[in-house]
């Protein structure tokens, strides 16, 4: 879980704070968990991810230079391509992501793993916001068709 949090928030102390808060929240909400609405693992990760996303967006509002941390200093090993390669070979998600153009696949994976917004992705890939929005929509439509 700390690994997931650190992809959003590379600073160790902030990521640990998020994991702490998420664990406490999971503990408090455990009795509300409804297995009919998805697996426990996904539920746990959703609590963690939502908390990490909120923290990330609040941090950026306070101090926009935070962006650089998420944008620049991510090693190749933790990049979107490596994440896809680490998916199970039998994974349908891996096959469907692999069916996208590499740059569009990276956009989707970065949005999920690092919590980048439309605007941040547009900046990172050097395209106008409208172009990024339509890239994402088209990629998601392709994923939807491939996964269903």
């Amino acid at each position: 879980m700390l690994g997931v949090a650190r992809r959003f928030l590379p600073r160790a102390e902030i990521a640990e704070e998020v994991v702490h808060d998420a664990f406490v929240r999971i503990w408090q909400k455990a009795r509300d968990f409804d297995p009919a609405r998805g697996s426990a693992r996904t539920w746990i990760y959703t609590v963690l991810r939502n908390h990490a996303l909120n923290t990330l967006r609040n941090e950026r509002r306070v101090d926009p230079t935070e962006d650089f941390e998420a944008f620049g200093f991510v090693s190749e090993e933790e990049g979107p391509e490596a994440a896809v390669m680490r998916l199970s070979e039998a994974s349908r998600l891996r096959r469907c992501l692999g069916g996208l153009e590499p740059m569009r696949r990276d956009v989707i994976v970065l949005a999920y793993t690092q919590g980048l917004t439309h605007g941040e992705l547009a900046g990172r890939f050097g395209v106008p916001l409208g172009t990024m929005k339509s890239w994402i929509r088209r990629s998601l439509t392709a994923l939807k068709d491939c996964m269903s």
């Binding site: 879980m1 690994g3 693992r41 990760y45 999920y112």
Partner: protein, 245 residues
């Protein structure tokens, strides 16, 4: 774009974590009020969640686990009068999670990472919510030297998990690949690729129900997995399933 596909795209963007501000508030409201939208979001969270498991492992300091344990204990102490009446009565197994939770330092002492602890917690939650908590089949995987090295538990609802009990040395550039053989005609099918020995759910949802005497094995393969889709490296351990009593 039709209204229907517009909503579907919104559900996907929400599951991806892309939305913020007004669009996020709108999606959250839909998720709370519209069960079909919520179901769509859940399906896609489940699908994307595979990517969470690809996060590079990060070891938390002992201080973090201690802090979590303290916070949880504080909550428990504060809430216990209310709990004894309602929640504990309706969920008799809650004490099981509590005892697991209190073994947090034990997980750490056992050298488990935060991810493994999360999986243990997920497993505990799954156990609580399932009428039959016991696996239907269990396989003990043995090394060539006949030492038990891992356990595979297969459950009635079709999910399965691998629990290593011995550390396995994985050379640089290599990975552990988990296989099962349920049909000799088809041959072994890959159900997981691990960078190191750790507890993981196994990807057997597409396969027929696990049966007795089904072979599970782990081979040493290149980092990206076997290039042929069949085991190519040495078998590190194997075992067959037996019905659990």
């Amino acid at each position: 774009m039709t209204a229907q596909s517009e909503r579907e795209t919104m559900a996907l963007e929400h599951a991806l974590g892309l939305l913020d501000g007004e669009s996020l508030a709108q999606a959250e409201q839909l998720e709370a009020e519209d069960s079909s939208f919520a179901a769509l979001v859940t399906i896609w969270r489940e699908r994307f969640s595979e990517l969470d498991l690809t996060a590079p492992p990060a070891e938390a300091g002992s201080e973090l686990w201690a802090r979590i344990a303290t916070s949880v204990e504080r909550i428990e102490a504060g809430q216990s009068p209310a709990l004894t009446r309602s929640a504990r009565a309706s969920r008799p197994n809650a004490s099981f999670v509590a005892s697991l939770w209190h073994s947090l330092p034990v997980w750490r002492a056992a050298g488990l990472s935060g991810a493994a602890a999360a999986l243990s917690l997920a497993l505990a939650l799954a156990l609580i919510s399932r009428p039959s908590p016991n696996p239907t089949y269990v396989a003990v995987l043995m090394t060539e030297a006949s030492a038990p090295a891992a356990i595979v538990n297969a459950y009635r609802d079709g999910h399965a998990e691998l629990i290593p009990i011995e550390p396995i040395a994985v050379p640089e550039g290599k990975a552990l690949q988990v296989w099962t053989l349920w049909d000799r005609e088809r041959g072994p099918v890959s159900i997981g690729l691990l960078d190191r020995a750790r507890s993981v759910p196994l990807d057997i949802a597409r396969l027929p129900q696990t049966g007795a005497d089904q072979l599970f094995e782990i081979t040493l393969e290149p980092k990206q997995g076997s290039p042929t889709g069949r085991p190519t490296g040495p078998i590190l351990m194997k075992g067959t399933t037996h019905p659990a009593l």
